[in-house]
C-alpha cells in the first residue's frame, strides 16, 4: 500500500478526482506547504473518469456563469500549462425547449448569461435547425446557444494535473481510504486512513459522490447526496454534430466526441446513495435509445458501444459547497457539484484553496457556504439548470 512520506502536512485532501487535484494545484502554487491527496481508488476511477466532458457557461445563477467563464479560460490554457492536450473544442451548447414554459425559462437563462457579457443566442425553431443538422424538430419550439461552450476530453486533464502535482512535490496516495477525521478539542488535526494517521492542519472533503459518506464519517450530518447517473457511447462515426445538445424536458444530452462516438445520457431516477453500484440499467438503455432516436432519427441503425455510470453529488439547491464547515473548524468542503464538477473545477477550486488559506473569496456565502443548509430561513437564489 502507498504510505505517506511524512508525518505532518499543511493540507490533506480526501479524493483525487478533478476537484481534489485542482484544489491541490492551487494550494501548491500558492506555496501552502506540504500537501497530500488520498484516494481509495485509482486515478480516474471516480466521476472525473466517467463524465461526458461537457463545458458550459449557460446557467440560471450569475455566480455560476462567472465560475464557468473563468473555468473556460483555464481549459483554454490547460495544454500550455500542464503539457497535456485536452482537446477542448468550442462547438457550443444547444439547449432545446419543447414548450412555451421551457422557452420562458431559457429566455431567463439567456438574460442572465447575456448580462454577464457572453454572446448567447435565444433561438426560435429555425434557429435551432441552423445549429444542428438532422434533428427532428417535432416538439421543439426554440432554444439557446452559446458558441464558446463546448466539450473536452476529461482523462488528459487528470494526467496533466497528477504529473504537474508530483513535480510540485504534492503527494498523491491512490489506493488509500480515508476513514475519518482526527480531532482535538473539536478542531481537525488530521485524517485517519487505512495507511495510518496523517496529521494535517486542514482537511478538504473532495470525495465527489462519496463526500456525504465522508462527512458522516466525520460525525456530521450531510445535506448532499449521491445519485447514480448513466451514460453511453455509440460506435464512432465521421464528424457530423458540432454542439452538445441538451433537452430541457427529460435532461437528454449528447455530443459527438473527438473520437467520433456520440456520448450522452438522460435522467433515469435511481434511489439516492452509493449502495447500488456503478452499473448500467436496461431501463436507461431503452429510454435513452427512444429519446435519442426520437430527436436524431438517423442514429436508428447506429450501435451502442458501451454504457456505464457514475455518481452525481447533489446539493438541495443545485450549487456546490465551498468553504469551511462551521461545525468542524479545519474541515473544508469542495463538493456538491452535481453533474457539473468537471467543467467548474478550475475556478471553484481556486476559491476552495483561498478558503483553506484563510483568504476571502468572492463567493456569496448564502449560495456557496457549506453552512447555508443549517439556516432554515436562507433565501438565496438556487441553480435550477442542473440537467445535461
Amino acid at each position: 500500500m502507498n504510505r505517506p512520506a511524512r508525518g505532518r502536512y499543511r493540507v490533506a485532501i480526501v479524493g483525487g478526482g478533478v476537484v481534489g487535484l485542482f484544489t491541490a494545484y492551487h494550494l501548491a502554487r500558492a506555496g501552502a506547504g506540504p500537501i497530500v491527496v488520498v484516494d481509495r481508488g485509482f486515478l480516474s476511477s471516480g466521476a472525473s473518469g466517467r463524465n461526458g466532458g461537457g463545458v458550459r457557461q449557460q446557467w440560471e445563477t450569475a455566480a455560476t456563469v462567472r465560475l464557468a467563464r473563468e473555468s473556460v479560460a483555464a481549459w483554454r490554457r490547460f495544454g500550455r500549462e500542464f503539457g497535456f492536450n485536452i482537446w477542448f473544442r468550442p462547438g457550443g451548447y444547444l439547449f432545446l425547449a419543447g414548450t412555451r414554459d421551457e422557452l420562458g425559462r431559457l429566455a431567463e437563462v439567456h438574460r442572465v448569461v447575456a448580462g454577464e457579457g457572453l454572446p448567447a443566442e435565444l433561438l426560435d425553431r429555425d434557429g435551432v435547425a441552423r445549429h444542428a443538422d438532422g434533428l427532428s424538430l417535432d416538439g421543439v419550439v426554440g432554444g439557446t446557444f452559446l458558441r464558446s461552450d463546448g466539450t473536452l476530453y476529461p482523462f488528459p486533464v487528470l494526467w496533466g494535473l497528477s504529473e504537474t502535482l508530483r513535480s510540485l512535490g504534492v503527494e498523491l496516495l491512490y489506493g488509500v481510504e480515508a476513514t475519518g477525521l482526527r480531532l482535538e478539542d473539536g478542531r481537525v488535526t488530521g485524517l485517519a486512513t487505512a495507511a495510518g494517521p496523517i496529521e494535517a492542519a486542514a482537511v478538504v472533503n473532495a470525495a465527489g459522490g462519496w463526500s456525504a459518506e465522508f462527512t458522516r464519517r466525520a460525525g456530521l450530518v450531510a445535506f448532499n447526496e449521491a445519485r447514480r447517473h448513466e451514460i453511453l457511447a455509440t460506435e464512432p462515426l465521421k464528424p457530423f454534430l458540432d454542439p452538445m445538445v441538451v433537452r430541457l424536458s427529460d435532461g437528454l444530452y449528447f455530443s459527438q466526441t473527438m473520437r467520433g462516438e456520440i456520448v450522452g445520457g438522460l435522467t433515469v431516477p435511481h434511489p439516492p446513495g452509493t449502495a447500488g453500484g456503478m452499473s448500467s440499467s436496461p431501463e436507461f438503455l431503452v429510454r435513452m435509445a427512444r429519446a435519442l432516436t426520437g430527436l436524431l432519427p438517423r442514429v436508428r441503425g447506429l450501435g451502442i458501444l458501451r454504457a456505464w455510470s457514475g455518481y452525481y453529488d447533489e446539493n438541495p439547491d443545485g450549487l456546490p459547497s465551498i468553504g469551511e464547515d462551521p461545525r468542524r473548524p479545519g474541515l473544508f468542503h469542495a463538493n456538491g457539484f452535481g453533474g457539473h464538477g468537471f467543467m467548474l473545477a478550475p475556478a471553484s477550486t481556486r476559491r476552495v484553496a483561498q478558503a483553506v488559506l484563510g483568504e476571502p473569496t468572492d463567493l456569496d456565502p448564502a449560495q456557496f457556504h457549506p453552512g447555508r443548509f443549517l439556516d432554515a430561513h436562507r433565501a438565496a437564489p438556487a441553480e435550477g439548470l442542473t440537467l445535461g
Binding site: 485509482f42 486515478l43 480516474s44 476511477s45 473518469g49 483554454r76 495544454g79 500550455r80 503539457g83 497535456f84 492536450n85 482537446w87 473544442r89 438532422g134 482523462f155 488528459p156 494526467w159 504529473e163 455509440t234 460506435e235 464512432p236 462515426l237 465521421k238 464528424p239 457530423f240 466526441t257 473527438m258 473520437r259 467520433g260 452499473s279 448500467s280 440499467s281 436496461p282 431501463e283 438503455l285 431503452v286 435509445a289 427512444r290 435519442l292 432516436t293 426520437g294 432519427p297 438517423r298 442514429v299 436508428r300 441503425g301 447506429l302 450501435g303 451502442i304 458501444l305 458501451r306 454504457a307 456505464w308
Partner: protein
C-alpha cells in the same frame, strides 16, 4: 455452386453477382481476403480478421447505413454496398501516407497543442480521422416492435454444452428458450430456439419476483427481446485469441474462427499457403478443414501429438516453441519471420496468411455483467466464473462448456447436463470443485512474450489494439511514466475502448502489463465489462416495451 441461386448487388459502383445466402466476405474471397477497411489512426490496410462481427476490420456501408459487418452480412438483391474511411479506395488510400509519416505513432495525448492558434485546425484534422463510416443517409426502416419472452429457463449459446443443457431442462418439463448468435442447430423437443439472436445484456437478477432475470437480446433484422427467465444457463463458449507481433494487423492475419467463417460453403479457404499458429485441438481442426493450404505449423510452446500426426501425414513442417518475430509485406502479407525459442537464427517462410489457433479464450462478459464471482486462472490466462457444481455465485445463474473451461466436446455436453441438473436442484452432479481450470504457473504466453520483447529489434508497428490503432510502444511509455493497472492504461492509451471492446487486445495486454509492471496478471486488474456485449442498434432497443414490474 454453379447453378445455385444468385443475387446481384452493386459493390463499389459495379454490379456483383454472388451466391444467395453467402456472407459478403465469402462472396468476395478469391483465394485471398478483400481489403475493405483502413485503420482508424494510421489508415493501415485492413482485411476481415475475426469472422464474428466483433472486430473493426470489415465494416462497409450498405444502402446508406454505416458500419455493417461484411463478415456477417448476407447481401440481398439490389443492395448498394460501398467501402468507408478510405480515399479513393481501401487498397489505395491516400491517407495511408499517415502510416509512413508517423512510424513511431501519433501522440494525441501530448501533441497538437502548439501553436494555440492552430487548435481549430488540429481539431478538424483529428476529428476527420476519427470514426469509420459517415452518418446514415436516412433513418432507415423502423425495426420490428420488441417483445418480452417469459420462460422458466434461458440457455445462452447452442454449442454442445448449451444444447445438452437445454435438452435436459426441457425434458424435465421446464419451458426452455435456447438462443445463439448463429444457428441453434437441429430442433430440440420442447425447446424454443432463436437463431441469430445475441444476448447483449444480462443484468444481475432482480430481488424477489417470479422471473428475476431480464436479459436483453437482439435478433438479426433488428428485433429486440426481453428474455424474462427464472434460471439462466450461460454457455457462450470461447473465441480464438490474439497474438502480438509486428504486422499483426496485416491483411491475411486472421483467427481460426475467421478462417472458417470466410471460407465459402464448399469453397476454398481465403488463402493459398498459410502459417497455422497453434499446437492444440483448435490447430488440429484447422488442419482438417484447410490442411491442403497450410504451409507450416508453428506454436509458441509444444505441439500436441494429434497435431503432429495430422501435419506429418500431410507433409507439413512443424515448428514447436517458436517465436513469430514479424509478418512482412507492403500491403498484404508476403512472409513471416520466425525464430526457435532460446536459440538459433531467424528464418523466414513465404506465406500469404497467418491463422491464429493457439489460444481459446472464454467469453466471460455475461458473467461479469450479472455480477458472478470470477477468478483469474493463470493456466487459462483468463477469468472464469467460480463454480460450485455448475452454479455460479449468483443465485439462478449456471454455466457450462468452454466458457467455464471445458475444452472438448464430450466434456462440454456432460458439463451442460451437470449445469442443468444444478438448475433443477438435483445436486451430486460430478462437475467438481470451485473452478474447472486449475490455477498454476504463469500462462505459457507470458514466457513467450518475455522472450519476444527481450532485446527484440523493434521494427514496424506492434498494434496492440487494432480497433483503436494503439501501439505497444504507447503502452510501454505510459507504463514507464508511472501509469499502472489495466484500468488506468486503458484510459490513458485507449486500448480496449474500440469496437471489439477489448476482445482482441485485453488478453495480451494483461500478460504484457504483468511483464512491464513486474506483478502477476491478476494484480494488473481487469476492464469492467460494460454492456452491451456487442454493439446494438439504438433503434432496436427503442422498440422494446417498458419492463414489466418485478413482482
Amino acid at each position: 455452386m454453379g447453378d445455385a441461386p444468385r443475387s446481384t448487388v452493386r459493390f463499389r459502383g459495379r454490379p456483383l453477382s454472388l451466391p444467395r445466402g453467402a456472407t459478403l466476405v465469402q462472396a468476395l474471397v478469391r483465394g485471398r481476403l478483400p481489403i475493405l477497411q483502413r485503420s482508424i489512426r494510421y489508415h493501415r490496410p485492413r482485411a476481415p480478421s475475426c469472422g464474428t462481427g466483433a472486430c473493426s476490420q470489415c465494416l462497409v456501408r450498405v444502402n446508406g447505413r454505416p458500419n455493417v459487418r461484411a463478415c456477417l452480412y448476407r447481401p440481398a438483391t439490389d443492395d448498394v454496398i460501398r467501402t468507408e474511411n478510405a480515399w479513393p479506395s481501401p487498397e489505395f488510400d491516400l491517407f495511408g501516407a499517415l502510416d509512413a509519416v508517423f512510424p513511431r505513432g501519433l501522440d494525441t495525448v501530448h501533441g497538437f497543442r502548439r501553436p494555440a492558434v492552430f487548435a481549430p485546425l488540429y481539431h478538424r484534422v483529428i476529428r476527420r480521422l476519427a470514426g469509420f463510416g459517415r452518418m446514415a443517409d436516412t433513418p432507415g426502416p423502423t425495426p420490428p416492435p420488441g417483445r418480452t419472452v417469459p420462460t422458466d429457463a434461458l440457455v445462452v449459446g447452442a454449442g454442445p454444452s448449451g444444447r445438452a443443457a437445454a435438452q435436459h431442462l426441457a425434458s424435465a418439463g421446464r419451458s426452455t428458450v435456447l438462443v445463439d448468435r448463429g444457428s441453434t442447430g437441429d430442433p430440440l423437443p420442447g425447446v424454443t430456439a432463436y437463431d441469430t439472436t445475441t444476448v447483449v445484456f444480462l443484468p444481475p437478477p432482480l430481488s424477489g419476483g417470479e422471473r428475476p432475470f431480464r436479459a436483453i437480446a437482439v435478433r438479426d433484422g433488428g428485433e429486440a427481446l426481453r428474455l424474462a427467465a427464472r434460471t439462466v444457463v450461460v454457455a457462450t463458449g470461447g473465441y480464438d485469441g490474439p497474438l502480438l507481433f509486428p504486422g499483426n494487423d496485416r491483411p491475411g492475419v486472421m483467427t481460426a474462427e475467421g478462417a472458417l467463417a470466410f471460407t465459402p460453403p464448399g469453397g476454398d479457404p481465403p488463402f493459398r499457403r498459410a502459417l497455422l499458429v497453434g499446437g492444440g485441438p483448435r490447430a488440429a481442426e484447422l488442419l482438417d478443414a484447410a490442411g491442403a493450404h497450410i504451409e507450416a505449423v508453428v506454436a509458441p510452446t509444444q505441439i500436441a501429438p494429434t497435431v503432429v500426426g495430422r501435419a506429418s501425414a500431410l507433409g507439413i513442417p512443424l515448428y514447436p516453441r517458436t517465436l513469430l518475430l514479424a509478418a512482412k509485406g507492403r500491403h498484404r502479407l508476403r512472409s513471416v519471420l520466425l525464430r526457435r525459442r532460446g536459440e538459433g537464427a531467424p528464418f523466414s517462410l513465404e506465406v500469404d496468411a497467418v491463422v491464429l489457433a493457439h489460444r481459446r479464450l472464454p467469453q466471460p462478459q455475461l458473467f461479469f455483467q450479472a455480477g458472478a464471482r470470477m477468478a483469474w486462472r493463470s493456466a487459462g490466462g483468463a477469468y472464469f466464473p467460480v463454480l460450485t457444481d455448475g452454479a455460479t455465485s449468483v443465485p439462478g445463474l449456471f454455466a457450462c462448456g468452454t466458457a467455464v473451461g471445458h475444452p472438448d466436446r464430450a466434456d462440454a455436453a456432460a458439463s451442460g447436463v451437470a449445469a442443468a441438473d444444478a438448475a433443477l436442484g438435483r445436486t451430486g452432479a460430478p462437475a467438481g470443485g470451485p473452478t474447472l481450470v486449475p490455477d498454476g504457473p504463469p500462462h505459457e504466453l507470458e514466457g513467450y512474450y518475455r522472450e519476444l520483447l527481450d532485446g527484440a529489434r523493434r521494427r514496424g508497428k506492434w498494434v496492440l489494439c487494432p480497433c483503436e490503432d494503439v501501439l505497444l510502444r504507447e503502452v510501454e511509455t505510459a507504463s514507464r511514466g508511472g501509469y499502472r493497472g489495466i484500468e488506468v492504461i486503458k484510459r490513458f492509451t485507449g486500448i480496449g475502448t474500440g469496437l471489439c471492446q477489448g476482445r482482441y487486445c485485453l488478453p495480451d495486454a494483461l500478460l504484457l502489463l504483468a511483464i512491464l509492471e513486474g506483478r502477476p496478471p491478476s494484480d494488473v486488474g481487469y476492464i469492467t465489462q460494460r454492456p452491451p456485449v456487442v454493439p446494438v442498434p439504438l433503434g432496436a432497443l427503442a422498440e422494446l416495451p417498458d419492463a414489466p414490474e418485478a413482482a
